[in-house]
């Protein structure tokens, strides 16, 4: 783990590319905390933002997002060369699939899945969903991987009109990897359970620190509170007590 002062190479409404000196590498599904005002000239917004690494190497990290609030609005407007403090890599990330796998991504949750899809030894099936075609982050990148791809949009502007989980049909012995809205992940969990497949989900949470001291990201499970930043963000969905929910 490092904390480094990075430089913005590129920023737009959906993409941020940072040159991060000394980045030690990461596993698919790990994240970083981005401090947008590292010189503390304004101290506002105060808190860093947790962002899944979309892809990266020793020189640059790429993040994909949707503008949802103040932090992402500022991120999208960062000038080239601006400094951003990067703390990471954080969290457990995904264990790479050992057999057949289906990846299910919804909205900005897709960002956590790209490197998992790219690095899997056996080509996984990938299902991506969003409200519209424009919300399917990184579509061209997934297409270029040559994986079996299924798309669903709420408005039918691309692929199946409906939920991305409508496309999910787990095969025996398969592992499901899901990242997206809670409702989507809970449906993926239910479908996987019914098919006897294992389901790993990457949870998103509000957090102030990313390394286990603010405790803002606690998730209540049957075994007690778990922290998304240090115990996760990836959890076996069977440990989250989702069965108990209506």
């Amino acid at each position: 783990m490092i904390r480094a002062l990075a430089r913005v190479r590129e920023a737009s409404a959906t993409r941020l590319v940072l040159e991060v000196p000394g980045w030690p590498g990461h596993r698919p599904g790990q994240f970083a905390m981005l401090t947008l005002d590292p010189e503390r000239s304004h101290r506002d917004p105060l808190l860093p933002r947790p962002m899944a690494v979309y892809r990266g190497d020793a020189r640059a990290l790429e993040f994909r997002f949707k503008i949802v609030g103040r932090g992402t609005r500022i991120m999208a407007a960062l000038p080239v060369g601006a400094s951003v403090a990067v703390l990471g890599p954080l969290g457990n990330g995904f264990a790479p699939p050992e057999g057949p796998a289906t990846l299910v991504g919804g909205g900005s949750g897709i960002a956590s899945l790209f490197e998992l899809a790219r690095d899997a030894r056996e080509r996984p099936r990938v299902l991506l969903g969003g409200r519209t075609r424009a919300e399917i982050l990184g579509l061209e990148d997934f297409e270029a991987l040559g994986v079996e791809l299924g798309i669903a949009t709420d408005d039918g502007s691309l692929g199946h009109r409906g939920l991305v989980t409508d496309l999910l049909a787990p095969r025996a012995g398969e592992t499901i990897y899901a990242c997206g809205p809670d409702g989507m992940m809970q449906r993926a969990h239910a479908i996987a359970r019914a098919a006897g497949a294992r389901c790993l989900v990457s949870l998103e949470s509000n957090m102030a620190c990313g390394f286990g001291v603010c405790l803002g990201c606690a998730v209540k499970t049957p075994a007690g509170f778990r922290y998304v930043c240090t115990h996760g963000p990836v959890f076996d969905s069977a440990t989250l007590g989702w069965e108990a929910r209506p």
Partner: protein, 309 residues
């Protein structure tokens, strides 16, 4: 070549290599920061508040960002005093002064936690958290009523031989009165301030931003409130003060020293950067060099008066 600066200081008889500690509830039990910093470079840490039994907190949302700050209602989740002694303390470097923070819902239980910590060699001092503003079970805060606060300090004073700091709530009419109560009951020092009670609303969902409703406001937004209270408390009591509230730089820390704090605690800023405490220490050093200050402790209470108008 500039003259060497002596950053060492003392708080309630405890020698510190510099005046910067990390505040309770913002540095876990210390080891969480080990991947990022050498803990032994700090003046010390105040570990997360301990109760007799392990304690779980509130359901999310527990935190929300506010202008130049944040609001939290974690509700003092902790591993309990026994697990702290058995599992957390041994993981810390021997050279790091560790202050244990104590929190409970009843006087007798507060005293019992103090008693359990009394014989623990690694614990250099106790800090009573008398002020957590969002725990429903305690009703009003212990630190909001002078008589309740007096009874609390008295009970814990009897339960420990360790230096006893009381961390005051800012949610009071007269901080000077509360400081005098602590001094009168034998506290060795006062830490101030804890989080300021606050509320945020998500207007689009027509709900409070935190599930708990009320929360504790911290971060740079509360710095002027904290400075004011340290300033007032330093004029009310002779026991040493430890200043807390939104410290983000060496200059912020120096402001607390000038207002009469013997040491400071960096809190919420550690969330934004695990090195924040050491950056503040470096900033105090830079200030001392810039102003030709040989000993940082000479800054304590060294605020100068304006000439008469």
């Amino acid at each position: 070549m500039s003259a060497p600066v002596d950053l060492s200081t003392e708080l309630c008889g405890v020698a510190l290599r510099n005046p910067v500690l990390l505040a309770s509830g913002t540095c876990g039990y210390g080891a969480e920061l080990s991947p990022f910093i050498d803990l032994a470079e700090l003046g010390g840490i105040v570990a997360k508040s301990l109760t007799l039994e392990p304690r779980a907190g509130n359901v999310q949302p527990r935190i929300t960002e506010t202008p130049a700050g944040m609001l939290n209602a974690i509700s003092l989740e902790n591993v309990g005093v026994e697990a702290f002694i058995r599992e957390k303390l041994p993981a810390l470097p021997a050279a790091l002064p560790v202050v244990a923070s104590v929190f409970e819902t009843e006087l007798e239980r507060y005293a019992e936690v103090c008693k359990r910590l009394d014989g623990v060699a690694r614990v250099v001092a106790l800090e009573l958290n008398a002020s957590c503003p969002h725990v429903k079970s305690g009703g009003i805060e212990f630190g909001q009523d002078p008589e309740v606060l007096a009874a609390l300090v008295r009970a814990c004073r009897r339960a420990t031989t360790r230096p006893l700091l009381v961390k005051l709530s800012p949610n009071v009419t007269s901080i000077a009165e509360m400081a005098r109560v602590c001094e009168g009951e034998g506290a060795d020092g006062i830490s101030l301030i804890n989080a300021v009670q606050g509320l945020m609303v998500d207007v689009h969902r027509r709900r409070t931003s935190l599930r708990n409703g009320l929360g504790g406001l911290s971060g740079p937004a509360i710095l002027p409130i904290a400075l004011r209270m340290v300033y007032q408390a330093s004029r009310a009591v002779k026991i040493p003060l430890c200043g807390i509230g939104g410290i983000a730089s060496g200059e912020d820390a120096v402001a607390f020293l000038l207002c009469g704090a013997s040491a400071v605690q960096v809190g919420t800023l550690t969330y934004t950067n695990p090195r924040a405490g050491l950056d503040v220490r470096d900033g105090i050093l830079a200030y001392c060099r810039q102003h030709g200050v040989a000993r940082a402790r000479d800054l304590v209470g060294a605020l100068e008066a304006w000439p008469p108008q």
